[in-house]
């Protein structure tokens, strides 16, 4: 029985112990869920094989990303995590020698389909990079740069969008008096939050994070992690990290990459506490890295 077919009846008052209520369990939430008519898996990678020239970087990656969850990508350096992530919003297409087999879908539609508009795809699948990269324009203009490009809002609305997104990432109080200033005078953590606000402003459905906290101090890292948790289940988040503790803290599911192959994936607790493969075991216990 799919969630739609379930009769709507008042659910008994339940005590929500911790975390957001799962819509899979609560029929009221399920019926109210705006995403209920959409596929449960927002993105899928189907037998994806990817090469740069003669070199195969990713081999046979089979993965489904459940809507509204956080998935961590872990694995040793050079194992293809970034390459996989950048494939999901087609940032690799222009790399010399790029070729691929298999498919990646967004809402069951191939991202490489001819009628798939690349700019719209990137609006729906946003990205945050390892190094904060604000644009050389004022803080306020940075937040709405993508909004202007996609003509989502204009004029006075832009100020509203800027304030809302800056509040969302918890940066508003720190920058409200200097929206016209250069973003490069902000701390690294604040710059990264600004970039997050900029990415959120265009209303993405999926957010790709490539080691978003590796250049940040512990307190900023904690802030970004907290935000990432809050962004679900409205967004689906895929995060590459070298920080196993971080993967464990924030993610629902974990994928382990090794040498271009997806060795194992599962729920985060299963992956860390009870991995099936020895390689995964070695990696998550720190014996390989």
């Amino acid at each position: 029985m799919t969630p739609e077919e379930q009769p709507i009846k008042p659910s008994p008052p339940v005590e929500i112990a911790s975390g957001p209520p799962s819509r899979a369990l609560d029929p009221v939430l399920a019926a109210l869920d705006p995403d209920r008519a959409r596929p449960a898996h927002v993105m899928e990678s189907k037998a994806l094989k990817l090469s740069f020239g003669a070199k195969t970087i990713l081999d046979d990656i089979e993965m489904r990303f459940t809507r509204g969850t956080i998935t961590a990508l872990i694995g040793p350096t050079g194992s293809g995590k970034s390459t996989f992530l950048r494939t999901l919003n087609r940032m690799n297409d222009k790399v010399v020698g790029f070729s691929h087999q298999g498919d990646v879908t967004l809402d069951n539609q191939s991202i490489w389909e001819p009628n798939q508009d690349l700019l719209t795809l990137r609006r729906r699948v946003g990205m945050l990079f390892q190094r904060p990269n604000p644009f050389p324009m004022s803080i306020g203009d940075n937040v709405v740069a993508g909004v202007k490009a996609h003509r989502i809002a204009k004029g006075k609305q832009l100020d509203v969008v800027a304030e809302r997104r800056l509040r969302e990432v918890g940066l508003w109080d720190a920058v409200k008096d200097r929206l016209g200033d250069s973003p490069f005078r902000l701390s690294g953590g604040q710059q990264q939050l600004l970039c997050l606000a900029r990415a959120l402003a265009v209303g993405p459905e999926v957010l790709l994070l490539d080691e978003p906290t590796s250049a940040l101090d512990p307190i900023s890292t904690e802030m970004v992690e907290g935000l990432v948790r809050e962004l679900t289940p409205a967004l689906t988040i895929i995060i590459v990290t070298h920080n196993l503790g971080q993967a464990r803290r924030v993610s629902d599911g974990t994928m382990f990459f090794y040498d271009g192959k997806l060795i194992e994936h599962g729920t985060t607790s299963q992956m860390f506490d009870d991995p099936r493969c020895e390689q995964t075991q070695n990696y998550v216990t720190g014996r390989m890295g």
């Binding site: 644009f135 050389p136 004022s138 993508g146 490009a149 990415a199």
Partner: protein
């Protein structure tokens, strides 16, 4: 007790001091001649300076420089519009569109070769080509258009090169960030990339304009000279005035008046170049308020 510095450390210190000395000497070698020229020109022009030089046209080897000043300003404006547009677009093409192709070769090779060959031509050769092809060949006579065309051809490679290298120095983070937000290549170029490349582009334009207003050889072949105040007639005007002509020729003429005019022209050129410099610095400062530097 402090231990005596190890020989290695002492070596390093000596090297350090030598290195610093070297940079100071180099600095002096650059600033020295510039100051010397500046002082020389000012000292020779100011004592006999008369403001009416600005408002009287040349008469033989006497009179003022009104015609030459207006002529040089018109040439600079023309070069700015023609060479600036073409050069900046060529630079954008080389840096942004002529990316490596799938087969590893770069497109835009032809444009690059043409640009390099062009910048290798001595200016007097270009001037002569202009004389043969435009002044005589097309019966345009000594006039504004052939001068503009030859000057533009001369400086386009500079502008294209400086635009290209300025664009290539734009951090990849800006491009990737714009791309990941779903900006089209053209949009990100206009709103993000060009902004960060602007100082380099403006510097290139400035250099090109300075070259254009300081050139003599190609202008003698294409613009000729006239006492008349220039109008905007493009061809067939029987000569066109500009500031380097009196500097180059009047100095060899007999008579104090001719020499005075030559120094006046030099002073005015120096002032024009200085104004150009200050303006470009202001433009850069105003647009780079949010720069990552």
């Amino acid at each position: 007790m402090v231990a005596a510095p190890l020989p290695r450390t002492r070596h390093r210190r000596a090297f350090d001091i030598l290195f610093r000395l070297g940079t100071y000497v180099a600095l002096l070698l650059v600033i020295g001649p510039a100051a010397w020229i500046l002082i020389g020109v000012v000292a020779r022009a100011v004592p006999h300076w008369q403001w009416k030089v600005l408002t009287t046209p040349t008469h033989g080897t006497s009179g003022g420089l009104e015609n030459a000043i207006i002529g040089t300003l018109v040439l600079m404006a023309g070069v700015f519009i023609i060479a600036g547009t073409i050069g900046v677009f060529a630079g954008i093409h080389l840096a942004e569109l002529a990316r490596p192709r799938r087969n590893g070769k770069e497109s835009g090779g032809l444009l690059r070769t043409a640009s390099d060959v062009l910048s290798g031509f001595p200016s007097i050769v270009l001037g002569y080509v202009g004389y043969v092809a435009l002044v005589v060949g097309l019966h345009w006579g000594f006039s504004l258009l052939p001068a503009l065309i030859i000057l533009s051809i001369m400086v386009i490679p500079y502008i294209a090169k400086s635009t290209e290298s300025a664009l290539r120095q734009v951090p990849t983070g800006y491009r990737e960030g714009a791309e990941a937000l779903g900006m089209s290549t053209g949009y990100s170029l206009r709103k993000v990339v060009l902004k960060s490349a602007l100082p380099g582009i403006v510097t290139g334009l400035l250099l090109a304009l300075a070259i254009a207003c300081g050139e003599t050889a190609p202008l003698i072949y294409t613009a000729g000279w006239t006492d008349a105040v220039p109008n905007l007639q493009l061809t067939g005007s029987h000569g066109f005035a500009y500031l380097t002509y009196p500097i180059f020729t009047f100095y060899n003429q007999p008579g104090q008046q001719a020499h005075d005019l030559a120094y006046d022209a030099a002073l005015i050129l120096v002032v024009i170049v200085l104004i150009l410099l200050v303006t470009s610095r202001i433009i850069v400062a105003r647009t780079q308020r949010h720069a990552d530097r």
